[in-house]
Amino acid sequence: MKNRLSRRNFLKSSFLSSSVMVMSGCSLFSITTPQETLRVLEDDLFPKAKALGINTSSYLHIVFHHSRISKAEKTYLKNGVKWLNEEAVKLHKTTYVKLLSTQREEVLQNFAKTAWGEDYLADVMNYLFEAMLGDPIYGGNTKEAGWKWLNFEGGQPRPKERYV
């Protein structure tokens, strides 16, 4: 049993930390991970979440390994990390997380000019809001901070276990 759990934990951590190859034209420019980019991207898209103490990165682990989120959706989330970084390389010759905040904002503005770029950012925010406003049992909405910010009271009874 211990080995099986370890194996499962390894798989859980591996998807978020898997390699994303960032290309510049036809050449490999750099390698990053979904975890590294999404952590910074989420802070840029909705800094209020961090200010409220919302743990968005722990919720991303749930998203990437949820039985009811399709493989296509998970792949899309991962591919978007590549697209965003390639936009960063195109504009500033380095990956997204290595940019100054003003430069990252410029990348986001450019990225969102295309429908697919805007859709991707909306998708990332979708999961960010799930982390921030879902039941605290999922680990994101710490001390109901997201709910309290909006004067929202969750429904009763609350879940006793996560549905994953």
Binding site: S70, E105, L108, D135, W149, G155, R158, Y163
Partner: protein, 551 residues
Amino acid sequence: MYDVCIIGSGAGGAPIAYELANAGFKVVVLEKGANYTEKDFNKDELAVSRRDMFTPPLSEQKHIINEYAPDGSFTRYDGEKSGWNFWNGSLVGGSSNLMSGYFHRLKPNDFKLKSVYGEIAGANVLDWAISYEELEPFYDKVEKIVGVSGKIVAHKHQEPRSSLTFPYPELQTNGVTKWFDNACEVLGYESIPTPRAVLSQDALKRNSCYYSNFCGSYGCASGAKGSARAALLQKCDAKIITDAFVYRLESDAKRVTKAYYYTKLGFAHSIEAKIFVVAAQAIESSRLLLNSKNKFFPQGLANSSGEVGKNLIFSAGGSGQGRFVFEKLTQTQQKELMTTGLFFNRSLQDWYEYEAEGKKYKGGTIDFLFEHQNIIPRVKREMYDEEGKLLWGEALATKIHKTLTTSRVLTFEVFNDWLPTNNCSVGVDEKTKDKYGVPVGVINLNGHPHDLAVGEHLAKKAVKVLEKMGAVEISYNISSAPPPNLVAGGCRFGEDAKTSVLDKNCKAHDLENLYVSDASFMPTGGSVPYTWTIYANSFRVAEVIKKELRA
């Protein structure tokens, strides 16, 4: 051998299980989903509303959807690839666990649409095989056994009732309903307290509503909601086999002999019974009959008429909304507006029938309710500015906070007849299989233009109320998009075995011991949500089966 085998445990099947089991007959119910009780239900928005925990994953079970255009061409959608989901609730008690419980009866003219309103070109309108008067005692029975709360007020389309009042008083309502009632009075509209299949007090060995603020889409943790499980299945000793997907019915020339089902792990089993009742919800009931074709019924079981799957209907109409903002309200009104938990519960039926340009039209019902309290979609809706451009950062945070803390949306839902047409039906796709290896259902969708015209007429009336109440950002959308949870037809009942699948008692014309007791029997749908009528008709069919078993 069982006396009765029922396929599906929702509102169509449970009344028969309840009546027959309590009359001493041996009843088995085969339910595809799992069993949940009051102790299991909670208000986990992520699980229930965003991860669809009560419906099958589309990667395992889906439909093929052909959406017809007015010129007769169609676009094919794969349910898995498109995300178009027609499942409503696979659990003991079916989707009645998840309903809001807006309970309206049909009205006498709904039973004779063709006679009263005449033919409509391109629509297969028929009168029902029974009258309102024949169903009325069973509507009454549902009020008492399932439990309906409300208050009868006189209005011009009030249907005849054998009981003067509802057995349970109306649920508590939000102060904003007073604004609504006042607006209606000024406009000359008749505001009706919406009857609900929700107990307003402890009764029927169930607890009262506790105003959780999360009713529709969620299971009820107190048992107040009149789900088929809480109200009926938990009060009889019918044997319920869960995780049992019935994939085929076996028959000889006259009788169904066995129901075959797969367990969750894919093992095949069979059940023998004297009488079989199909109540898997309209689309799946037709699919099961079509997938049960044999040498006696090469077109599908009970399908000598070729009518199985035909004339599928939904509820036509749409929805709309208006927003109340603090800037236009007094402090007292602001407080009333933001009080959560209490229901809105107001309906309009002034235009259940109306005249326009000298012609009499069948209209419908408008229900008003506060926007669902699920917070994630309410926040997500703020992600775009007025020009539709994505926002982020501080600008988005400010917009979200202001909208959610200083305003609230009142919505309305329009229910009018979805006219049955040739291009709205159920079939099966022999090449596309579900996880069990069974051909999936094909849903052919077609909306009649008449439905849109009636929906528009009703929506404009609702808009007037919102305007009079002082709402802003008023909008509505009437379309031919089918609400998956409001589905009926596919196995019409009627007197003629050549043009209908079922007789007036919902027994298959072709077989001696097969009944279909969900909404499949309905030749037209009326202009209200279906659940009360499904319950009532199932109680009616239960009486017929009881007599047959006793004979």
